[in-house]
């Protein structure tokens, strides 16, 4: 397949073709999504099926409720996770406690900015978040204009798997609602970015002003029209139900 590709053609026929030659043991993978919202579901399934092991996963949650990236955990494919929140992810909690998986917890804003920095060629940044907490242990603290800041380093990956709503053939992307989250950031911070788009349109269809992420960051594109898009907490205001009744049952920020 790759021998016949036209230079600059980024569109692949299916997910397994789009990931061909990219997966290997010990690699670092960034995966977009906030919980199960905005996941590159077909790419995750393909990584699980490939059996690659000893992975470092950079993802806000590493899946949830046994779904999303959490499917890689019972397979023992994950060695290390960088994330901000593990609540609602019993597989990760169990493997973390038993020492099977290393977890680096990172405040969510610091996590996002480290990825942004990784993609933007920035060697690190000073943030007020985490000063005086366990997050600051072993890190440089610098006082600037009377306030203390922690030095945080960028995050980069070998591969980013990104979910978009629309991609054109150049990889110009549009995202949908809160499925955007970490996706456009991660697309900038990996050696290879594979986009799983709900819809692929001819180049030129997306107005240049409407592009959320320029295609320069995207190496491969695959169209996946159907997604599970699991709802973690289905909350409504229907049938006279009080808002507060539903909120009491939910758990976990992020």
């Amino acid at each position: 397949m790759s021998a016949a590709r036209t230079p600059g053609d980024k569109l692949y026929a299916d997910v397994s073709e789009a990931l061909t030659g990219l997966l290997r043991d010990g690699m670092t993978i960034m995966s977009g999504g906030f919980g199960l919202c905005g996941n590159a579901e077909a790419c995750i399934d393909a990584i699980a099926a490939s059996g690659v092991k000893n992975l470092t996963i950079i993802s806000n949650n590493c899946g949830n409720q046994g779904q999303g990236l959490a499917v890689l955990l019972p397979n023992r494919q994950v060695a290390r996770v960088v994330c901000s929140f593990v609540g609602g992810n019993p597989d990760l909690a169990e493997q973390y406690l038993s020492g099977k998986v290393k977890v680096e917890l990172c405040p969510q804003g610091t996590f996002a900015e480290r990825i942004r920095a990784g993609g933007a060629g920035i060697a690190g940044f000073y943030t007020p978040t985490g000063v005086g907490t366990v997050v600051g242990e072993g890190k440089e603290v610098r006082e600037i204009d009377g306030r203390k800041y922690l030095f945080e380093k960028p995050l980069r990956a070998d591969l980013a798997i990104v979910r978009a709503a629309v991609s054109d053939r150049f990889g110009n992307l549009r995202f949908y609602r809160t499925a955007r989250n970490f996706n456009p950031l991660m697309a900038t911070a990996a050696k290879v970015t594979v986009v799983e788009a709900d819809r692929v349109v001819p180049t030129g269809v997306i107005d240049p002003d409407d592009v959320h992420l320029p295609g320069v960051y995207v190496k491969r594109i695959v169209e996946v029209p159907e997604h599970r898009d699991v709802i973690e907490h289905r909350t409504t205001r229907g049938s006279g139900q009080k808002l507060t009744d539903a909120t009491r049952t939910r758990k976990g920020r992020a």
Partner: protein, 216 residues
């Protein structure tokens, strides 16, 4: 009589000023939205990338890809915007959020907050709590005054791992409303029927009472 959960939430809603940009934490703080005056023109931010968050959807409006930071389905109001997580936390860290109302495990009288982990308990992660605590222009904590076994949650110095230092402005508990005073808490409102003695006994730090709260 101490305040009920609903009374605490209503008190917290009174902290929200007209026109403010507000982030509400998970749990009890989320319920504050129910009591904000619709005429106050308040804009809610959700750190997963939504400014202008509306109420929960009707059954026919549910969208799996429109959720809040608690991963609950929500709606977007007219004038809402959607953005990535770096933009969202730039808003938070950069001081563009007027008020955050968060849950707490412990607040110290110097303003230090602990609300993300208890040693020995299953770890969940801090999510966005550390950034919100460090970045919001004003931080109100909504929590019970004491734990179930009676241990004070308003303390002189934190015993739990910190979320952020010197960040809390005000704590609303089931016993009253307390401002952070450096080396003491300042009681600015008492729940009806709760005595000064009850508050002093339930607090792990000195408490000052204002003219309004010092009476019987």
């Amino acid at each position: 009589m101490s305040w009920t959960r609903e009374q605490m939430v209503r008190r917290a809603a009174a902290e929200v000023g007209p026109g403010q940009i507000v982030n509400l934490g998970i749990g009890m703080p989320t319920e504050v939205a129910n009591y904000i005056d619709p005429a106050a023109n308040v804009t809610l931010q959700s750190e997963n990338g939504l400014l202008g968050m509306g109420p929960y959807p009707r059954e026919d409006e549910i969208d799996a890809r429109l959720i809040n930071a608690g991963k609950e389905t929500v709606t977007a109001l007219p004038g809402a915007s959607l953005f990535d997580s770096a933009q969202s936390f730039a808003m938070i860290r950069g001081g563009h959020i007027d008020l955050a109302i968060l849950g707490g495990l412990e607040v110290a009288c110097n303003g230090d907050l602990a609300n993300w982990t208890v040693p020995g308990r299953l770890i969940t992660g801090m999510g966005g709590a550390m950034d919100l605590a460090a970045g919001a222009r004003r931080l109100v904590v909504l929590q019970n005054h004491a734990s179930k076994d009676g241990a004070p949650k308003l303390v002189n110095r934190l015993t739990l791992p910190a979320t952020a230092l010197a960040c809390v402005n005000r704590v609303i508990t089931d016993l009253g409303i307390f401002d952070v005073g450096g080396d003491c808490f300042v009681c600015v409102a008492r729940a009806e029927g709760v005595s000064r003695e009850t508050i002093i006994a339930a607090t792990g730090a000195p408490v000052l009472f204002t003219t309004a709260t010092s009476g019987r």
